[in-house]
């Protein structure tokens, strides 16, 4: 008897210790407050935005070019949201990579799983992973996707498609169209109708009761499911937009319109909003492009915050997916002078530019004879050397910012260390109801897991439900499975059991059973010949 009493006490002690360590572990992870009343999640990604870019933009906004006065109280909408740091590394076959690309970064943030370079929505073993957007859709919420690049570009694609090659934009476009996202705004109409498989995805959208708009006028009074394609590939930088392509909406306008539509759903919504071209400007080492689109992003953040504060059940996350360019206020020229240099040294030269390095290309005439005037009127550089003029003249179409960006950076003492991405931890900006924050240094995968936990969703279970390996599933039921590749642009999986034939066309949201068309609530996916189908398709063969 005594032994049993002692052992019981020891057992209880052990159990207590386990529980407490467990709960410690839990609370360490739950450094944020789990708030089950969160209905809507807004994830905003400023692609390739190193933190010095934000500081530079804030100084740019504070500086009055006419008077030279600086208003140090000028704030950005992001400022109050700063709350933590995010690690961005990627992983392939258990080997980590220090500097990530947008594709594995987007996959990590949308699925909670780190993966290989160039992979979208698939693990490093190339099997599809359910994204938080798809999980939200299954839970009956509305979903949205916005980007200023083509929406088939890596970051938005990582939330809405599954393919181990980010360059295959036409495959990504097909999956996105059939994935039934409620609101999609951005560029990329070229991938919808000018395709190798000759399918016209715009008419697919129209036949499925989507509004299809191509100019910003289409945004007013908009209700219901909508795809807005405002450019054949990418949209313009914000600074260039008002001059060169005024029919495009700004990121903030797209954000407001999307939130208007999505908030009609009582169950809530998930939306990913990307300011895509900060990254492109950083690659080109063009500080004007960075400032232009950081400001555009900040205005969109402001619109999202306004919504969240009014709504009271919305979480807003703003991050970048990785650093880019090594942008710094100060370069090798300021090594000896940095402790005396005023803000104007870095900002005044930048203030003279009216268009970004990409935007000025449209102002050059066909034989590039007006370089000096254009650079002076639009890019704020009056003292071009002959070598610089020659370099501009020889620049390939579409790469102008790579030539002129470094020129203005030199004059403004803005430093760059690379034209590629960088591996620093990036800043986490967050807002939860009750003005709460997510703090600490987290992993980019935590963003997906935190969102899923708030909605009581287990992303692994959703993956198992939506992406079963078709061959093993159907063969286990005694069916024969063959791949019909007679039309290489539209491969089908054909499953036969007895008198039943099930044809599964790749990347679509319908299948054909014995000649009748069945629509499904997600998509089937073909990755290099391996088909993945949701449970509702598997159930069609008994």
């Amino acid at each position: 008897m005594k032994l049993t009493k002692v052992s019981t006490i020891i057992l209880v002690f052990v159990l207590l210790i386990c529980f407490s360590t467990g709960s410690f572990a839990l609370s360490a992870k739950d450094a944020y407050k789990t708030n089950s009343s969160i209905k809507n999640i807004i994830v905003m990604i400023a692609d390739g935005m190193s933190e010095d870019g934000v500081a530079l933009t804030r100084w740019y906004n504070s500086y009055d070019a006419k008077t030279g006065n600086i208003d140090t109280t000028k704030k950005m909408a992001l400022d109050d949201m700063a709350s933590g740091l995010v690690r961005t590394y990627w992983v392939n076959n258990n080997i980590p990579g220090a500097i990530t690309d947008s594709a594995p970064a987007a996959t990590a943030m949308s699925t909670g799983v780190k993966t290989n370079n160039k992979f979208l929505g698939v693990s490093d073993q190339k099997s599809p992973l359910a994204t938080i957007l798809e999980a939200a859709k299954l839970a009956g919420k509305s979903t949205g996707l916005i980007s200023t690049s083509q929406v088939m570009h890596a970051t938005p694609a990582g939330y809405s498609s599954h393919y181990p090659d980010r360059s295959k934009e036409y495959i990504i476009a097909e999956q996105q169209v059939y994935n039934n996202i409620d609101v999609v705004f951005g560029g990329g109409s070229k991938n919808l109708a000018d395709r190798p498989d000759n399918e016209n995805l715009i008419s697919v959208l129209k036949n499925n009761d989507y509004n299809y708009i191509t100019t910003k006028d289409g945004l007013s009074g908009l209700t219901g499911k909508t795809w807005g394609m405002f450019a054949p590939v990418a949209m313009s930088y914000e600074m260039d937009r008002t001059v060169n392509t005024p029919n495009e909406p700004s990121l903030a306008e797209m954000t407001k319109s999307a939130l208007n539509i999505l908030s009609q759903n009582n169950k809530g919504f998930f939306i990913m909003i990307e300011g895509s071209k900060i990254d492109w400007a950083a690659h080109a080492n063009d500080p004007i492009g960075v400032i232009s689109d950081v400001n555009a992003f900040d205005k969109a953040v402001s619109a999202a915050l306004d919504f969240a504060k009014k709504d009271g059940h919305t979480m807003v996350i703003a991050v970048t997916d990785h650093g880019n360019g090594g942008i710094s206020i100060g370069n090798s020229d300021t090594s000896g002078t940095y402790d005396k240099d005023p803000v104007s040294k870095f900002i005044a030269p930048l203030k003279k530019a009216k268009l970004t390095g990409e935007g000025i290309e449209a102002k050059l005439n066909a034989d590039r004879s007006n370089i000096k005037e254009v650079m002076s009127n639009y890019y704020g550089i009056d003292d071009l050397t002959d070598a610089e003029v020659a370099a501009i003249k020889d620049t390939k179409a579409g790469s102008m910012n790579y030539t002129v960006g470094p020129m203005i950076s030199k004059r403004a003492c803005i430093g760059w260390t690379t034209t590629g991405h960088t591996g620093e931890d990036i800043v986490l900006y967050s807002y939860l109801p009750g003005d709460n924050r997510i703090t600490g240094t987290i992993d980019n995968t935590d963003l997906a897991n935190i969102s899923a936990a708030m909605w009581n969703i287990n992303l692994k279970n959703v993956t198992n439900d939506l992406y079963k390996t078709a061959k093993t599933t159907f063969e286990a039921k005694g069916a024969t499975v063959t791949v019909d590749g007679s039309n290489p642009e539209n491969v089908q999986l054909v499953v036969t059991k007895g008198s039943n034939t099930l044809a599964i066309p790749e990347n679509k949201n319908y299948v054909i059973l014995n000649g009748s068309v069945y629509e499904i609530s997600s998509i089937d996916v073909n990755i290099d010949g391996t088909f993945y189908v949701p449970t509702e398709v598997a159930d069609l063969i008994k």
């Binding site: 109708a193 016209n200 715009i202 129209k206 036949n207 191509t214 039309n487 068309v517 069945y518």
Partner: protein
């Protein structure tokens, strides 16, 4: 038993059986469905519930040119015509037409494993005139009859024969209807529709993203572009690469592709031809046909040129190929309907009609007529094209 009770029992039995008999009789008298003057036979008989006729979905899709989609999870059936998208939910009293909600007295049901939808509701939603004659127990539906108005159609000369034949049939059964069909080429048809110069346009090439943002296209047939040579030419097959090189002028002599020592005389179409644009897109990767090729203003003239010249090579829509010329196999694949429909033949394409915005009224009816099984099997096949379903 007492006599009165006996009588009462007998009486009630009689009343009951009468009632049963009458309901049996009611259910037993078959309901007839007439669509545009033709009595419809289907392997599943229509069912009447609460005075509403329910029919199997196939009746609607096959006879009215609608596309039907099932959703197992949501238990919904979607019926789509050119102008309307109607969604029924099984056992639900609400349904939607183009997104707007409506109510039903009798919902759609699954009876004996078949999905049955309320005939009156679906017919009226897609713009048919429905009438019920109780004495003959006949439901009369007018979908492609009783139409009035006038339509202007223009565009691709490849689609034109299909459109003309369909228009002729429609006009024959609709006295108050006039449809004028003009050619002009795919480019002209697209511009006309965007500018409002026609009601329906025709195109033998797919629309660009910019064009699709303004127009709503519908496939009416599949087509293949055949490479044609003179019947006396010994060459029977070309790889896609060889064919491309020939039309680009890089291969100039038949002996280089297994034929006689003779010059390859390329015959082509004048700029503006949709067939030429499609050939350049599908075979030459948007490069242009060699500049020395002889151009013709119609496919008939091109075909004639190939028929008359032993060393000529040309191209044409499969619908125009006849015994005066020989169609080559491409990559070993024969240019026939099967291979065109499943896309195996390397130069298959789709033929479209389109309207500005969503089609409505008689434009929508014309498009539905073109896509209905009757037109597909009778007109499209007869004109030498491939039904797209």
């Amino acid at each position: 038993m007492k006599t009165s009770k006996k009588i009462a029992a007998l009486l009630s039995a009689a009343v009951l059986s009468l009632g049963l008999m009458s309901s049996f009789a009611f259910a037993a008298s078959p309901i007839r469905i007439d669509i545009d003057g033709k009595t419809i036979t289907s392997d599943t008989a229509p069912v009447v519930q609460n005075g509403t006729a329910l029919v199997p979905v196939k009746v609607v899709s096959e006879n009215l040119g609608a596309e039907v989609t099932w959703n197992q999870v949501k238990k919904q059936v979607t019926v789509q015509t050119a102008g309307y998208r109607v969604i029924f939910t099984i056992n639900s009293n609400t349904y939607t037409v183009n997104g707007a909600s409506k109510t039903l007295a009798t919902p759609a049901r699954i009876i004996n494993g078949k999905t049955m939808i309320p005939l009156k509701a679906i017919a009226e939603s897609i713009g048919a005139a429905v009438d019920y004659n109780s004495s003959s127990n006949t439901v009369t539906i007018k979908y492609f009859t009783g139409l009035t108005g006038s339509l202007k159609v223009s565009g691709s000369t490849t689609v034109q024969p299909i459109m003309q034949a369909a228009a002729d049939k429609l006009i024959a059964q609709n006295k108050g209807l006039s449809i004028t069909v003009a050619g002009g080429g795919s480019g002209a048809g697209i511009k006309d529709t965007i500018n409002g110069a026609n009601n329906v346009g025709m195109s033998s090439r797919s629309l660009t993203p910019d064009e699709t943002s303004k127009l709503n296209p519908y496939v009416v047939a599949d087509d293949g572009i055949a490479i044609i040579v003179n019947p006396n030419n010994p060459v029977k097959n070309l790889t896609k690469d060889q064919a491309a090189k020939i039309f680009l002028g890089e291969i100039k002599n038949w002996k280089d592709v297994g034929g006689n020592n003779a010059p390859i005389l390329v015959q082509t179409r004048e700029t503006g031809s949709g067939t030429l644009t499609t050939l350049e897109e599908m075979l030459l990767n948007k490069a242009k046909v060699v500049s020395t090729a002889t151009p013709y203003t119609s496919s008939a003239l091109l075909k004639q040129a190939v028929a008359k010249n032993e060393n000529a090579i040309g191209f044409d829509s499969v619908g125009y190929v006849d015994s005066s010329v020989k169609a080559l196999t491409l990559n070993g694949i024969v240019c026939n309907p099967q291979n065109i429909k499943n896309g195996a033949y390397p130069m298959s394409r789709q033929l479209y009609v389109f309207t500005k915005g969503r089609p409505a009224g008689i434009s929508a009816k014309l498009i539905d007529y073109l896509r209905a099984t009757t037109c597909q099997n009778e007109i499209v096949s007869k004109e030498g094209y491939v039904p797209f379903r």
